[in-house]
Amino acid sequence: MNEASESLKTTPLHSLHLELKGKMVPFAGYDMPVQYPLGILKEHQHTRAKAGLFDVSHMGQVRLTGEDPAAALESLVPGDIKGLARGRMRYTLFLNEQGGILDDLMVTNAGDHLFLVVNAARKDHDVAHMRERLKGRAEVELLDDLALMALQGPEAAAVLGRFIPEAATMKFMSYLPATFDGIPVIITRSGYTGEDGYEISCDKSDAETIARALLAEDEVEAIGLGARDSLRLEAGLCLYGHDIDETTTPVEAGLEWALSKRRREEGGFPGYAIIKDQLANGAPRRRVGLQPEGRQPAREHTDVCDADGQKIGEVTSGGFGPTASAPVAMGYVDRAHAAVGTPVQLMVRGKPLAAKVAAMPFVPQRYYRG
């Protein structure tokens, strides 16, 4: 082990990753499995066909309490948090005064508190941001003693239902405190692969027991960060720090669906004036899907050019989609070139690769709608 990896943090499932012969890489300050012996391609396909288990314990789990934590949080995000029924959750965004995205997150109304899941690389920033901006209105607690796993895929409900019968009939984007073989857990019917599935939060001391029990089921394979990335890209979902960051607004990013109706009218979140204007008049650039012709992938930072060779944008995520069985990418282009079907050129290693603006997701999302 070299010095760099000694300074990395580990999750409660680290020894299990090593036992499963995970290929470990540094990610967001953690030593994480990028793939297991199955390989990224098969891990990806297995998740779409059956069920994959992901360690996402590096992500931040946060508890927000106070007199009215929903009202407090609404001062930082554009989502309708006050309108969340108990046990329901939604995707929202921390914004800056320019409407730029500071992070994306999941917020759950857990009754006496809000339960937040934020990105690993942003959790310290998010906690500091909330503590500063919500001072006197809400208490912010980073739940360092918890682990988080995602079980994703068409067989996820059948598998988890063997341990938690009520899991199988949960609504999409809902939350349930439950027990897994007697172990207390919090489950949500959510994920980031485009498949039906769950995230399972538990005490870190129980994580390995739960992971081993799930992996012992025939349908379940351990899945690494590599397939997590290709799955979310095919599903058209943004990766923070790549497809969205402080310089992109929700309108540019095509995340209008995360701007709740009441909040669009009332405002009261950072960057509202800019976002309101972009909603009415359009943003100068848009996040779009990009579909290269042939089999050659175009990676992040590849220039996107119009038919005349003028630069009109840049790829923010790109690779090969194992389920699409084709290269897939997303990126930003000037609004004049954002319509689906627009021919573009991707400058891969100096050579133009013919592509077109494509609809996302690249594979149909299969969330459970009951």
Binding site: G226, P297, P327
Partner: protein, 124 residues
Amino acid sequence: MTIKYTKDHEWVRVEGDVGTVGVSDHAQHQLGDVVFVELPDVGRQLAQGKEAAVVESVKAASDVFAPVSGEVIEANAELENDPSLVNAGAETTGWFFKLRLSNPAELDGLMDEAAYKAFVEGQA
């Protein structure tokens, strides 16, 4: 016939003045699932140690360098249809291109099979 390896994990099998080039079995394991290979055009002059091809796995693009100098005389068209040949047979059916050696003396600076094996084990 002789096969030689580079420190960048390419191999070249030489028959007469023609070298067949690919990446080693060790390299394909490191790369993971290969989804695309960008091959050099026939007629292109390659210089030893300079970029000759690009191999794309699911996760990343990696440069492949010319193990020796020469003119490309054939590219493996099978890889266009089935890039996974690189994983299935890195040192056989998954070859990349053939070139006509312009400086066979360059082979002397490369590793033979035993030396390459020791080199890979030393890196592990």
